[in-house]
Amino acid sequence: MKYAATTANGTKPGTAMNTVKAGKAKKKRGESLVERHAALLLAVTILLIWEGWVRYSGISPFVLPSPLNIIRRIFTDFPLLMSHLSVTLLEVLSGYGLAIMLGIPTALLIFYSRACERAIFPLLMGIQTIPKVALAPLLVLYLGYGWAPKITLAFLISFFPIVVATTVGLQSLDKGLVNLVRSMGASEAQTFFKIRLPAALPNIFGGLKVGMSLAVIGAIIGEYVAAERGLGWLQMMANSRFDTTLNFATVVTIAGMGITLFFILGQIEKRVVHQRELAK
């Protein structure tokens, strides 16, 4: 136990410094243009091959539209895509917001009360093994065709990772830190805000990120099952009309929404969670 603490203490600063140095060395090494934009180049290459092959083979756009056509379609149908995006986005944010508002208090309950931990935690772990999307038809049965089943599904699917990550984050705190602040005469409230919460933040954000991408999935699946609006519904419509170009355009829009949400969350994380921990 003590030996483990020793090595942890001894190696941490060293490795941190090494990574700082490595970072600097990387900049100095003078990467070539190709190395720096490798991912972008690969993506562009794939798109070019796709475009070229569609043109050369003359494959029907019902089967596979070309990338340029998809982009063109996004521009021409921009108002349509945005109006459905606003529906889906609202469902995602409502479900996700609900998951945060209920998930973090649930984690606190599990953390502070042994009875709650014994009662809730095994249940949560059990429920987590159920694929929540399998509940979609049932939710439609009980909640109808409106907002409710989509928000509920987005909530259900993102709630569990948030609860679990927050609980694990709170539980994995070094007991030494608690003793340290107690020796300074800290109250439990002070211990929570000065130590427990900041120490758990990297974990909490891990859960929030997983929850975010799942919430998007939840809302889209909800729209697949039964809806009158939303990107998932638009995709089903495009499918039934063999409008594969619109189908692809919707996929791009969904991806764009997911990436944007993830990026915003990442920016918040950068501000709230200390960078040293992120660098690790």
Binding site: A5, N9, N179, K194, A199
Partner: protein, 270 residues
């Protein structure tokens, strides 16, 4: 240089203190058994013994982190039942908060006690300067080496001018060379500040080098077997102290206690 006169030191008195833990199997373990101890204000007391001898229990009782099963502990005139404001603690791990700057780490006790921060900033800077960390105030703990981090932890314990400084194997996690430097610095700092120190260690040399008085403890039940005064001139240098008459004798005397208890072996056995 002389030993300090005890200007800022708190007096410690421990009367008939027993601490009994119950193990998972329901057995009682006497971590401390009827300990009696008085520590003069401003003196440096080291407590040496193997793991499980109760030395860390003694420290956490004085820190107010655990309660004695029997007996009373006093710091100056107040009985210890909860963490005492006049006590600073340094643990084996530096326990710095990685999301706070070095300065904010040193000021943590000030924040927790809800004291005005501005009043302590200059003191924190002065303390960091004294341990050679001037200019590191705005850095973060992972940017510092192990020895530097433990120095910050010591500054944090000293920010409120504690009458009693409790140190629980503070240099146990450091490499030998860094540790030697820390021993010198701690000694210099103590000679300047003059607070009472209780220093827990399992290193006999370290105890004799630093302390005015060494308490030798042994486990099951945790007792003080020897209370040895170390009257060697200060400052004591880790590299030279072996040549000072009296140093080797003190070490031998402590070893003999452990040998008699079978904690150390007196000689190679075939």
């Amino acid at each position: 240089m002389k030993a300090p006169s005890g200007k800022g030191g708190a007096a410690v008195s421990i009367e008939d203190v027993t601490k009994v833990y119950e193990t998972a199997s329901g057995e009682d373990v006497h971590a401390l058994d009827r300990i009696n101890l008085r520590i003069e204000p401003g003196s440096f007391v080291a407590c040496v013994g193997p793991s499980g001898c109760g030395k860390s229990t003694l420290l956490s009782l004085l820190a107010g982190l655990t309660e004695a099963t029997e007996g009373t502990l006093r710091i100056d005139d107040s009985t210890v039942t909860k963490p005492h404001p006049k006590v600073g603690v340094v643990f084996q791990q530096d326990l710095l908060l990685y999301w706070r700057t070095i300065l904010d780490n040193v000021l943590l006790p000030v924040e927790i006690k809800r004291l005005p921060r501005q009043g302590y900033v200059s003191r924190a800077m002065a303390l960091l300067d004294q341990v050679g960390l001037a200019g590191f105030e705005t850095k973060y703990p992972p940017e510092l080496s192990g020895g530097m981090r433990q120095r910050v932890a010591i500054c944090r314990a000293l920010i409120q001018e504690p009458g009693l400084l409790l140190m629980d194997e503070p240099f146990g996690a450091l490499d030998a060379l860094t540790r030697e430097q820390m021993l010198m610095d701690l000694q210099a700092m103590w000679m300047r500040l003059g607070n009472t120190v209780l220093f827990i260690t399992h290193d006999i040399d370290e105890a004799v080098l630093l302390a005015d008085r060494v308490l030798v403890m042994s486990p099951r039940p945790g007792r003080i077997d020897l209370d040895l005064s170390i009257d060697l001139p200060r400052p004591r240098h880790p590299g030279e102290v072996h040549d000072v008459p009296g140093f080797a004798e003190s070490i031998r005397e402590i070893r003999q206690v452990f040998e008699a208890k079978g904690i150390l072996r007196a000689r190679f056995e075939e």
